[in-house]
Amino acid sequence: MKELVRPFPVPDEQSAEFWKAASEHVLTIARCSRCAALTHPPDVVCPHCHSTDPAFEFTPVSGRGTIRSWTVMRKSFLPGFDNDVPFVLVDVELVEQADLRLIGRLIDGVTVPLAVGNAVRLAFEDIAPGVAVPAFALEDRA
């Protein structure tokens, strides 16, 4: 049997721009053209102003943020990650907007001590040619 690999995102009408930018190592977030609020993931109605025509534009963001929570994935229910466990997932609040949260892997490994409020910066994992997945790395602490 063929060994399973990490699952690939399949871009659709709503997500194509996000994944194209990600492949160039740029993190973008959907911005509502009516109220300018950021939403992740995008929706068909803006969850902030409830416009039915939000005309979301994927806007580059810094990818800087703080850790709100984390977990160490010692087992994944996606067998494509069997060669990657254990790994850390972080729940990150981006600096661009209060409570704008993303979840991604922390590339620093599982032994580094973590605390709520730790600053992180953007990183990318290139999982295949032309496919990159946003991740995070701890900011160097001065």
Binding site: P7, F8, M73, S76, I103
Partner: protein, 400 residues
Amino acid sequence: MTGRFTAGKQVAIVGYAQSAIERHSASPLGVLAVETARAAIADAGLAVDQVDGFVTASLFPSAGAHLPEDGVSLVSANWLAEHLGLSPRYAAGFQGFGQIPGSVSIAVNAVASGAADYVLVHRALHNPRGVYHENPMQEVRGDRQWTAPQGYFGPLAMIALAYNEYLQRYGARRESMAEVLVEARKNGSRIPWSYWYDQPLDAEEYLAAPMINDPICRFDCDIPVDGVAAFLFTSAERAKDLPHPPVYVAGYASGVPATKRLPLHWPLDDIMSVGTCLAQRLWDSAGVKPGQIDLPQLYDGFSPFVYFWLEALGFCPVGEAHRFVEKGGIDSDSPTGLPILSGGGALGNGRMHGVPQMLECYLQLSRRAGERQRTKTTLGLACHSSPHYGGAILYSADPL
């Protein structure tokens, strides 16, 4: 507007049945459902053709690759009615989380409105062969594309993030949760139909289990099972002519829509802010206060839900649930303990969703709990799922 229900205590549970709770049943799920439904109808002193309403929530709650099939891995209300040979006046399915309170509220509304006279609420849960949540997907479409490529997948990671947020924010220790597991399994071990019958768990064994998604180990998760439960609802008036003491529905509430999030992202603040509103609407629906509840059966499909419900419902201050359980606050054998898991919960019975909570309320309030009968059980509460997506029902042994 007070939020008080005009139909409070006008609808009652009048009978029940539950199948064996097994890791893998020898019978197909649909067969278990038909047999359990017939047993519940007989228990209520009714004939099958008197039942004119069917309600369920049929969701098969697995992230795995198993293709859900009616009658095999789930059982819808229509499927059950049809296979009992009936064409009921009313059949409905609840779509959201909090499947048990959601179904109960639909059944209560159906009886109160006159849409049906005798409503059967059932829940059928299946454990497919293989690892329950395992999914060999190689391509991710739809909303999972925002999380699965990163490796965020399945409900254990979901509850792990919320639980770790709790531990960090309140300086709580995993050791405190041993009290929850020991209590659930102690009570489950006394229940003959439980998967964990005669198998209590001690704190050492709980704490020795390896992490799966930190800080969640396998004992923090209920075990998947095959099982079906069914309950009969009718009006308080009709209940007078039936064999068992009725247990009245005094009120209910469910979670309001929470903040738009990534799939399966349940931050602690979402859980608690919506959960606190749910609790207020629940008390308002029946005009009661938390201190009046004799039997608050809290949902525990993942152990941290016990903390979240204790705090959202106001049984202890926010951030204090870990200390509350450490001090023996949930020991159902102690006269001062709050019996939140006296029915064993999901951790002490198996993955029957909110059935153990509902069943314990029914058995204790109808005085049908046998050797486990508690002395003072007048007002019960049964909740299910997370406080921000789930729901809760208030049950009363006293009529209007």
